[in-house]
């Protein structure tokens, strides 16, 4: 008697069954995709309705704006995408961040002679808030989003975290690598560092520390102070508060 399932015929049969399952799988996937698309469409529609209804709140309230942005991100919507369409035309959200971007550039250019192109996010926010009444409720979150947009445009803008939720905004496309930003983070509390403090706290070799410090001096980001009792200190204008407007 012939054994069942073995032989050319059985193999062909198996192959056919597999093919059928595959088709089925594709069918199912296509189905799911259609369903998900529909759901996404619904999400987006709801988001649009929500946005229209709360248009003013979004423009006026920083916390509201932040949460709205997070909702958008969750469904893959970018309200800051350039071009026409619902978001930019109806809401003017794009305008809000675009204008903010322009003001950020203005403040950075204006303060660059002093700080070499590096400014604390808090100081940036205060200066922008001081420029117009409409900018009173601009938050650090708003600024970071606008800076991200600027970065995408290839303008050399970037935000560097320095611990404790604080940021330094760099507006010149100079080469600031990890070593540089680490030293800036070290300096952030007091506004200055010395070669020995870098060596002691970061456990670097003298040469590595000196390289970083020389670079900062060259870029105009740091000034030297030779009257400190502990030896030469390097101070960063960007980290030195300037209460004047």
């Amino acid at each position: 008697m012939r054994r069942r399932g073995v032989g050319a015929g059985a193999i062909a049969k198996k192959k056919l069954a597999e093919a059928r399952y595959k088709d089925r799988g594709t069918e199912i996937a296509a189905d799911q995709l259609a369903q998900m698309s529909k759901q996404l469409e619904t999400f987006q529609k709801h988001l649009e309705e929500f946005a229209t209804k709360h248009k003013d709140d979004i423009r006026r309230n920083a916390e509201f704006r932040r949460q709205f942005q997070e909702m958008c991100a969750a469904v893959g919507v970018d309200p800051l995408a350039s071009g026409k369409g619902f978001w930019s035309e109806m809401l003017g959200i794009g305008d809000f961040y675009y204008e903010l971007g322009v003001q950020i550039v203005e403040v950075c250019l204006a303060t660059k002679p002093r700080n070499g192109g590096l400014i604390m996010l808090d100081e940036l926010r205060e200066r922008i808030a001081g420029k117009s009444k409409a900018r009173q409720d601009v938050s650090n979150d708003d600024l970071l989003r606008a800076i991200k947009k600027l970065k995408v445009l290839g303008s050399g803008f970037t935000a560097i975290p320095v611990g404790g939720g604080r940021y330094l905004v760099q507006s010149v496309p100079g080469e600031l690598n990890m070593d540089h930003t680490t030293v800036l983070q070290l300096a952030e509390g007091s506004g200055f560092v010395s070669e020995s403090s870098i060596v002691n706290k970061l456990r670097w070799e003298k040469e590595r520390a000196q390289r970083v410090l020389d670079h900062m001096l060259k870029e105009g980001l740091a000034w030297v102070d030779d009257q400190a009792t502990e030896g030469r200190q390097y101070w960063f204008p960007a980290l030195f508060p300037d209460p004047a407007g």
Partner: protein, 173 residues
């Protein structure tokens, strides 16, 4: 006198160390020049003694314990001399200088503007009443030292806007 507004650099310790980076140094010297002139203008100070100045708040910030070294003080004053804002009384010794936070030409213009707006064209007045009289008490040139006043009036004389009459009088046209 209202309190003097120090610029941000004054409380920045490195401001009192001449910077090695040339661009930064240029910014630093410019800031020092501006500070010296505004400080003297605020105090209506027309001359400066280098030794006294080095210990004064201008070059010595006691609060942060920083003092501009003597050599750097001379660097700053030399910059100002090149710009025409100071003049050594003795260029060899360089221990005292005259300060012109405005050039004689600028002063001349300001004085002439006051003269015109007070309808004093074609009149004569003494140099004393010009800078010490009640009429000019609110003017920036009030209390100006005579050496500077003479230079200012001389620039007007060149423009035929005034004529010096001896050392004590002037006629305005």
């Amino acid at each position: 006198m209202a309190e003097f507004q120090w610029p941000w650099q004054y409380n920045f310790p490195p401001f009192f160390t001449i910077q090695p980076n040339k661009d930064t140094q240029a910014k630093q010297l410019e800031a020092w020049c501006l500070l010296v002139l505004s400080y003297c203008r605020h105090r209506r100070q027309y001359s400066l003694d280098v030794t006294d100045a080095q210990d004064s708040p201008l070059f010595h910030n006691q609060k942060i314990g920083r003092k501009l070294p003597l050599e750097a003080v001379y660097t700053v004053l030399e910059e100002l001399r090149k710009k025409g804002n100071i003049e050594w009384t003795d260029p060899k010794k360089r221990n005292r200088c005259l300060i012109m936070w405005r050039t004689p030409e600028e002063w001349g213009k300001i004085i002439y503007q006051w003269v015109t707006s007070n309808g004093m064209n074609n009149t004569v007045c003494t140099t004393y009443e010009l800078v010490n009289g009640d009429d000019t008490s609110n003017q920036e040139f009030h209390g100006m030292e005579s050496w500077l006043l003479t230079r200012a009036l001389q620039t007007l004389q060149i423009e035929r806007k005034a004529e010096l009459m001896g050392s004590e009088g002037v006629k305005f046209f």
